[in-house]
Amino acid sequence: MPSSHHSNSTLKSDWIIKFFLVIGLLVTGLFIVLPLIHAIQLSFYHLESFVSEPQWIGLKNYAKALHDPVFWRDLLNGVIYAGFSIFFQVVLGIGIAVVLSKSFKGKQVVRGISILPYLLPTAIVSLTFLWMMDGSLGIITLGFAKIGIYNVPWFETPFTAMATVIFISVWLWTPFVTTCFLAGLQSVPQELYDAAKVDGLSAWGTFWKVTIPVLRPILTVIVLLRGIWMFNKFDVIWLMTMGGPLGATEHLPVLAYKKTFSMFDVGGGAAVATLSLMILTAVIFIYFKLFPFEEK
């Protein structure tokens, strides 16, 4: 059609779109590409602080990190933290979504309340749990004492410290999973449920044979996204345990932070951060190979 041909040429020659595009490229370059390049650049230097004279040392920061058992311990800690947090977020998220997808009075209120944890700043949630888990006055500690479990060392043993940071992360970010699954559940055609009923499937059978297959594409994306974010998450662990006790909850973001800002090794910190991005990229690549996205 001539008119669409005409419109195509006006689209191409329009200065305002070109202007927008140039601004877009500039902003993306300045805000995202430049810092990334600078981070990689820093990782090739030895420098003790951001104002000291940088000294080119090539790949030595990487060699040092990869030969350091702390790096591997922190990588493993990060995998454990991310893995268990996502697992419980997904299980709880699906469970809550299934309950909230039923129709009952006050549904909107319950939905609203169930999202609240996700709205709160991480720092505020961490502080609140620090207070609730205070060794002598915390309401959770007192509650456990009521049922005969005294002096739980929430932050003092490697196992309880890891379990605590995982629990708080699950509390904070399950609503994200719940919301996504609720949206997904609404897209399940009623006929499928009716067919399952005709086939005599139990509620449990319907869940596994109907609901889960429909939710699979969302599940694939959520596990990936949440996995990446949990692997990168710095604030919960830093605020609750600072990586302690004795490095039991220290993961790569905390290691990079400590190196850069308290161990006078900016280059080393940048190297650890770059390495963790490389690991993530590799994992995502493999993940896409294993679970290719189904086009809608």
């Binding site: 993306t28 999202i115 609503p175």
Partner: protein, 281 residues
Amino acid sequence: MRRAILQKKALIRRIGLYLLCALICIYSFFPIYWMIISGTKAPDHLFHHPTLIPGPFTLEYYSTLFQLTSYPTWFKNSILAALGTVVITMVCSIMIAYAVSRYRIKGKTWIISTMLFAYMFPPILMAIPLFSIFAKIGLADSLFSLVVAHTTIALPLGVWLLWGFFNAMPFQLEEAAMVDGHTRLGAFLRVVLPLSLPGLVTVGIFAFLLSWTDYTYALIMITSDTMKTLPVGLAGMVGAYEMRWGEIMAGATAIALPLLALFTFLSRYFIEGLAAGAVKG
């Protein structure tokens, strides 16, 4: 007989459902409840055998917080940083998303994939070089540096959301307006933008949330007490004084309340954005 049994079963299911809902509410709301309660409970009760019910009420934590700490300054900094982030994120993501959705060149996939890639950057990886850059140009420890840092996380999300919005809008819309004598810019401002208002609100809310709730970037970019934002300032109170949990919980409540109010009025946009960002990201 059978019918009675069926009815009984349905009743039990119903009760079970409500019990589960109650459980979900308690699980999700109790820490928030305890935060609010702790910030208003008189000290002799808060620190000796606290009860679950609120009271006896006191506002002394709030007055200490606002009169004897830098809390008001942090509050002002948080608001400024959040507003700055919202404005820059919205302007930039509108321009980028519109150009990418309407311009047919190869470079646009480059922008979009960079944005998606930025989604998975470790915040630490961005914060270290950003701090270094701002230190070099003498702008470290400023709200501006913090706004830029927050924009690096909000922008990918904004572009992604708005790109979907603009793509769903047929080209004919602008063309019709341009036939009517509007320029492209006029058509964009008068036709496209008003129609994408829900998307704009969602992006604005998310940019605000990201900035208002951020701890990691503020911890790194800001070093002086007068430049701190609320989360970092409040977290700094732990350990700095003797444990002032009443004040800290009062401060936490004052940070959370604007968010809860925002959510009550704008929950539709919030949930839409959450779902869209997740399903597409």
